[in-house]
Structure formats: structure tokens, C-alpha cells
Amino acid sequence: MTNESIWVYIQLNQDKIEPTSLQLLTKAKQIAEDKPVWAILLEPTTLTAEATIQQYGPDNILRLRDDRFAAATDEELADALEQVVTQYNPNSFLFPATTAGRSLAPRLQAKLQTGLTADCLDLAFDGDTLVQVKPTYGDNIMCDIICPDRRPQMATVRPNIFKAVRVPNSQTEVVSATFTFHPETTMTILNTTRLISQTASLSDAQTVIALGRGANQPKTIELARQLAAKMGGVVGVTRPLTDDPQFTHDQQIGQSGQTVAPDLLINLGISGAVQYTVGIQNANRIVSVNTDATAPIFADSDYGYVGDATEFLEGLLAQVK
């Protein structure tokens, strides 16, 4: 049976749905034309993520239930997915380009002997062919990639490129899949500790105050924290600032850090290297402050101010209510 459906992998981070999976449901529906969109959910019986998924309008939820999915290895997940892919033969299968998605998808790809495109920034259908837009060379070059002859067409997609839109679908049908859980005997998950993640808050934040090497003084950092607290926002940094032990890699914005999509982003003392600016393309309004009028960051900004980051912060703290 060939089934022209588009599948989206619902990643669970313990008991939470990875936001990228919901973003992918919205994107899949936008590009689907008349192809049905399926959410593929591997969940322990203690969870019921279906109600939330249904809010994002898939035609079907294919549910694989087993308590061992609470802590399963990549191989165990890939093995279960292989079983359902060969039963239903979907047209395409989309994964979040998160660490979990980027670990699982290639393992499944090798089982299925099909193509997988990594870290896509856009997707579109040309007939039944999925055109996958993939950046290379640190986002300096884009490639269109297709997988013409094999199915499913697999892709991992970068977080926060698309917005998840709620369109509840009362017709969503939950289908229970038939499969066998095969435990991987050579691997044991000893423990999984949830991090009180700044990542989640940074990539979800509506206001981000970003600090660069021109705003790395203790006083400036303290003022930025105060401003973030006042505005209900979070602080992000460029890569050089992650050398400072008070910042973690989770707070880094950019190619090798997080992609942010806030309503308001304030860049302080940031030059605007391409490895940084690729992480801020989805910010709605960008304000940048830099002492150098020729700093490239201004080309990516809606508002710019040539001046000192600390003084500007003091002005903001005084005037923001």
C-alpha cells in the first residue's frame, strides 16, 4: 500500500512535546495540498499528548504505546518507526533538527535505505517530490535537495523556523499502531536529568536582550539582567561571551547555538557576524546598539543606535515601565 501521507515525528522531551514538532505539523499542513498529515507519536501509557497534538490539526495521529518509550534508545525508537513506515509507506517523514531528531533520523534512514536532508530551513512540494532547502558552509550557501526515487523523503528541520499555529481538527483520527518493541540489550539509559533549560526559554522568549563582546563588563551584564527581568525577557549572548563562566552554551545565539524568534530583540555590543545573524532572522523587531557606525549588525536591524551599550541600557532601564 502506498500512502501519500506526510509524517511528522512528535518528539517528547520527557513529558513535554518538543515545540519544533508542532511547528512541523503547521508547516506540513501548509505545503500538503491534499496529502494527509500524520503525527507519529511514540509515548508511554502514562502520557496523553494526543489532545495537544490535535490542536495543531493533523489528519491522523499514529500512536505507538509502550512504557519503555519513557526512556528509549535511538535504536529502539528507530526500530519501532521502521516497522510502521514499512506498514504504511508514507511519502515523507519530517523530524525536528534537535539533538534527539538528529540522532534518531539517520539511524532510521539507514534502516530504510532512503535519503535524509539535515537541518532544513524550508520545504515545499513539487508534485510528490519534497524540495528541501538546506544551508551549508555555515549558512553561507543554500542547496535545494530532492530524493526522487526512494520513500519516505526524510528531512530534519531547524527549530523555530516556522511558527506553530493552532487549528484544532475535530476530525483527527487516533490510530493505534501494531508493532513490537525490541529492547536494545547492549545499551542502558542510566538516567536522564532535565535541565532547567535556558535554551527553552531563550528560543521561546518574546523579548531577548543579547550581549556581545562590546557589552561584556560586569556592570553591563547586570543591567541587562535587570532589564530582562523588567521586560519579562531573557538574556542571550554571542559565542565569545560563552567563555565567561556565568554564561552557558545554552545561552548562545547563532549557527552553533540557538535560533531565536522573539517579538523584540535588543543587540548590545554585537558586531553582526553571519554565524550570529543566522540565529536572529526570525526576530520580529531588532534594535542594535554599537559604537561602530559601520558594524554589519545594523544591516540586520530595524532600529540602530551608534553609542555605548551600557549608557543605552541605563536609558532603557530608566524609561521602560
Binding site: 535504536e75 540522532s103 543554500m142 533549560s197 523587531r285
Partner: protein, 255 residues
């Protein structure tokens, strides 16, 4: 204990442009070891010194990749293999993972295969899990720390999306390494000199038991149909003026 480190050679910078006339990629010709792969080499060298093992580098690519293999030998690896031939060229990740896994099987008795978490040019991170699948071994991706236990297991600490995970695997296994794991060592002049005497073997598809349908362009399910520069962000910046107080006032009025 035999440890294989799969490495890739990447351009020394990512500053790549498209020639507007020919539409070819214009990139720097000199290659370096993919930075994350250096972390993998460093991890392998540390484990070798603990276990009296052997570190073998493996790469697939044109003859010019010798440079990176020599650099890895100069860091301290014991020997290197380069899979290189026309037939292997043009491979995507699937058609790269397959010959690599066959080579690892030919090397024989390999207990640990290490990779960098991803390459900085193509940025896929897919080859590690593909090789793990072909070898039918457990995978520990995005590892921040690895340790061997007395009873021949490996404990790995993985950094996931909103969690840290500790896993234990039985060897043989495959691990992809984050840069947080270590600081790669520099080659000493003595080591550089010695690197030229270490075995560097080139294998073609003839030397490996390969299915011709699964290598090179023919064995690659994906095709690149277009290569182009990203659309330039079109922002029109409004400059704020005057004292910082004045600029902030102006900003808050416009927002």
C-alpha cells in the same frame, strides 16, 4: 583495544561564495580537519593511553585528504586509511556511511568508532548514526564525556535538548563527540616528523567488499538540484539619534 576515528576534511573557512557567472562555489582550497573531529581524535588518544590501545583514522575523499590524515597522525594517531576513488565520489551521507562501515569491518576487531558531532561545512551529523546502524552497534550521540569501565563497557554523558543523559553501552559502540568533551592537543614537531613514517593506506572500492549500487552518486538517494546564495535579509534600519536618553525615548515611541 582498536579505536577508529572517522574524520572529514573541510575548507579552512566557511567563507564560501557563488561565482555569479559560472554558479560554481568559490571556496578556499586548503583543507583542515573538521574541528569536531579533532575532539574525537583527542578522545580516542586519551582512551588509548588508558588502555594500551590503538587509534586508527579513517576518511573517505580525494587524495588531498591525506593532509588531514597526516595532521591526525601528527596529533598521535597510530595509522590511517583513506578510501579514495572515482567510484566513491559524489556520495551523500548514506553512500558515505556504507563504505566507511565496510572499511571498519575490514580493519577488524574495532571496539569503538568515534566521530565529531557534525561537520562544519555540510553540517549533517548523519554519518555517525548511519555507520552505527550498518555495524549494528549502539550509538551514543552528542557525547560530552566518555569513560571505559573495568568490565569493558562505556559510560557516556549525552547532552540532549532539555536534558542530560547518562548511558552505558557494551562495546563495540559508536560515539559522536561534542567540542565540550576536551581540548584537542597540538602536534609537537617530533610528532609531525614521526607522522610521515606511520602507515597511511589508501583503499579503493576494489579493496572493500562493496555493492556497486550502494556507493558514489549511484548509491546516493539524494540529489542537489540547485545551489544559491541565501536571500539577503531586507531590513531598513532607522537610526536613533542624540543622547542615549533621547534615543531610548525615540525607540519606545516607535515600538
Amino acid at each position: 583495544m582498536k579505536i577508529v576515528v572517522c574524520i572529514k576534511q573541510v575548507p579552512s573557512t566557511n567563507d564560501v561564495k557563488i561565482d555569479p557567472q559560472t554558479h560554481n562555489l568559490v571556496r578556499s582550497a586548503d583543507g583542515v580537519i573538521n574541528p569536531f573531529d579533532k575532539n574525537a581524535i583527542e578522545a580516542a588518544l586519551k582512551l588509548r593511553d588508558q588502555t594500551n590501545g590503538e587509534v586508527i583514522l579513517l576518511s573517505m575523499g580525494p587524495e588531498s585528504y591525506r593532509e588531514s590524515l597526516l595532521e591526525g597522525l601528527a596529533m598521535g594517531a597510530d595509522s590511517a586509511y583513506l578510501l579514495s576513488s572515482r567510484a566513491l565520489g559524489g556520495a551523500d551521507t548514506l553512500a558515505t556511511g556504507y563504505p566507511l562501515s565496510q572499511a571498519i569491518q575490514k580493519i577488524g576487531d574495532v571496539e569503538l568508532v568515534l566521530f565529531g558531532r557534525q561537520s562544519v561545512d555540510a553540517d549533517t551529523g548523519q554519518v555517525g548514526p548511519i555507520v552505527a546502524e550498518y555495524l549494528n552497534v549502539p550509538q551514543v550521540t552528542f557525547a560530552e564525556a566518555i569513560d571505559l569501565t573495568e568490565d569493558h563497557h562505556l559510560i557516556g554523558k549525552r547532552r540532549l535538548d532539555a536534558a542530560e543523559q547518562e548511558v552505558e553501552v557494551e562495546l563495540p559502540a559508536a560515539v559522536t563527540v561534542r567540542s565540550e568533551m576536551n581540548q584537542p592537543r597540538y602536534a609537537t614537531p617530533r610528532q609531525i616528523q614521526k607522522s610521515f613514517e606511520k602507515p597511511l593506506t589508501v583503499w579503493t572500492e576494489q579493496d572493500l567488499d562493496l555493492d556497486p549500487e550502494r556507493i558514489g552518486l549511484a548509491g546516493s538517494p539524494t540529489q542537489v538540484t540547485q545551489v544559491y546564495a541565501p536571500a539577503a535579509a531586507k531590513k531598513r534600519v532607522t537610526m536613533l539619534t542624540g543622547t542615549p536618553e533621547h534615543a531610548v525615548q525615540e525607540l519606545l515611541q516607535s515600538l
